[in-house]
């Protein structure tokens, strides 16, 4: 594994988004992984519709909350094509599901995996390098006050309440860390990113990690 790896260097990570006053982090993490994988496959990086997942994934509860693995399971079962964000823009509130014909251009999931990598974060680094950005769930209670730097404390594992996109890691410094894209806008954290120490399952970053295959 390289000592440092960042999918932004390959231009497959879309800009940081802002979910607004809507509990849609679960949809942002899944769509972030899908649009990155689509670009890794050779397509132009294109932002896909988070609102489509929010409105149509009935096993989840829209802005009231959801789970990345349930969303992926639904996308995998239905093979629903996610349309570009420009065709189904984000509104930060749950709405009525818009249907598109099967012939409509879009991106669908071929398969996905979800694993608990606690105690195996080096293997998780391998998954990230091999399969692209990973959708993960974390304990983000202390993130209310986060400004930047590497989180090492004040974060529990096994009490996840938020979903994010892991886009890279860096083990070259004194503290190895995950590079994580959040969906609270660029004014939060380090331009919308947060760094979490690798090892010890800090914030539960390894509790439930999903890779998408397109």
């Amino acid at each position: 594994l390289p000592a440092r790896f960042d999918w932004r260097d390959k231009a497959v990570v879309a800009p940081v988004q802002n979910q607004g006053a809507c509990g849609s982090c679960w949809a942002f993490s899944v769509v972030g992984a899908m649009q990155a994988d689509h670009a890794i496959g050779g397509s132009q990086l294109e932002q896909l519709s988070v609102q489509q997942v929010l409105d149509c994934s009935y096993q989840n509860a829209g802005c009231s909350g959801g789970s990345p693995s349930r969303a992926l399971s639904w996308l995998n079962q239905t093979k629903l094509k996610l349309v570009p964000r420009s065709e189904y823009p984000y509104k930060a509130k749950t709405g009525i599901c818009h249907f598109f014909s099967q012939s409509h251009e879009g991106v669908s999931v071929k398969d996905f995996s979800t694993y608990d990598f606690s105690g195996q974060e080096e293997a998780m680094m391998g998954q990230l390098v091999a399969h692209g950005p990973l959708a993960a769930i974390v304990d983000a209670v202390s993130w209310q006050d986060y400004l930047g730097g590497i989180i090492q404390y004040h974060c529990s594992s096994h009490w996840s309440n938020h979903a994010v996109l892991i886009i890279g890691y860096d083990t070259t410094g004194d503290i190895p860390y995950w590079i994580v894209q959040n969906s609270w806008g660029t004014t939060w954290g380090d331009e919308g990113y947060v760094y979490i120490k690798i090892g010890g399952n800090i914030c539960g970053i390894a509790d439930s990690v999903a890779a998408v295959f397109l």
């Binding site: 979910q19 006053a21 509990g23 849609s24 982090c25 679960w26 989840n60 509860a61 802005c63 009231s64 909350g65 959801g66 789970s67 990345p68 693995s69 349930r70 979800t114 694993y115 608990d116 990598f117 606690s118 195996q120 293997a123 998780m124 391998g126 769930i137 983000a140 209670v141 202390s142 209310q144 006050d145 986060y146 400004l147 930047g148 730097g149 590497i150 989180i151 090492q152 404390y153 004040h154 009490w159 996840s160 309440n161 938020h162 979903a163 410094g173 004194d174 503290i175 609270w184 806008g185 004014t187 939060w188 760094y195 509790d207 439930s208 990690v209």
Partner: protein, 81 residues
């Protein structure tokens, strides 16, 4: 300064202003505690941001809405045979 920076519209001395000021003061106390663990230059820093006038409950209710699912433990990459 906080209200101007984060475009808050509540008026000084309104009921909401007074409530949010208490949440803001609570946040500054939290920051002192959280930063007391940050001993290295790379360590996380905590301070005023756009969530500083929310109570912890408001923050959880708005932004921490994931329903956690248990995932199977990773048992290595599968190889033929």
């Amino acid at each position: 300064a906080f209200r101007a920076h984060f475009h808050r519209t509540y008026e000084v001395d309104s009921e909401e202003f007074n409530r949010r000021r208490v949440y803001f003061q609570n946040a500054t106390e939290r920051h002192a505690y959280l930063n007391s663990f940050s001993t290295m230059s790379q360590s996380a820093k905590y301070g005023i941001n756009q969530f500083s006038d929310l109570s912890q409950k408001e923050f959880k209710d708005l932004y921490l809405r994931v329903v956690p699912d248990k995932a199977p433990i990773f048992s290595g990459l599968k190889t033929p045979g």
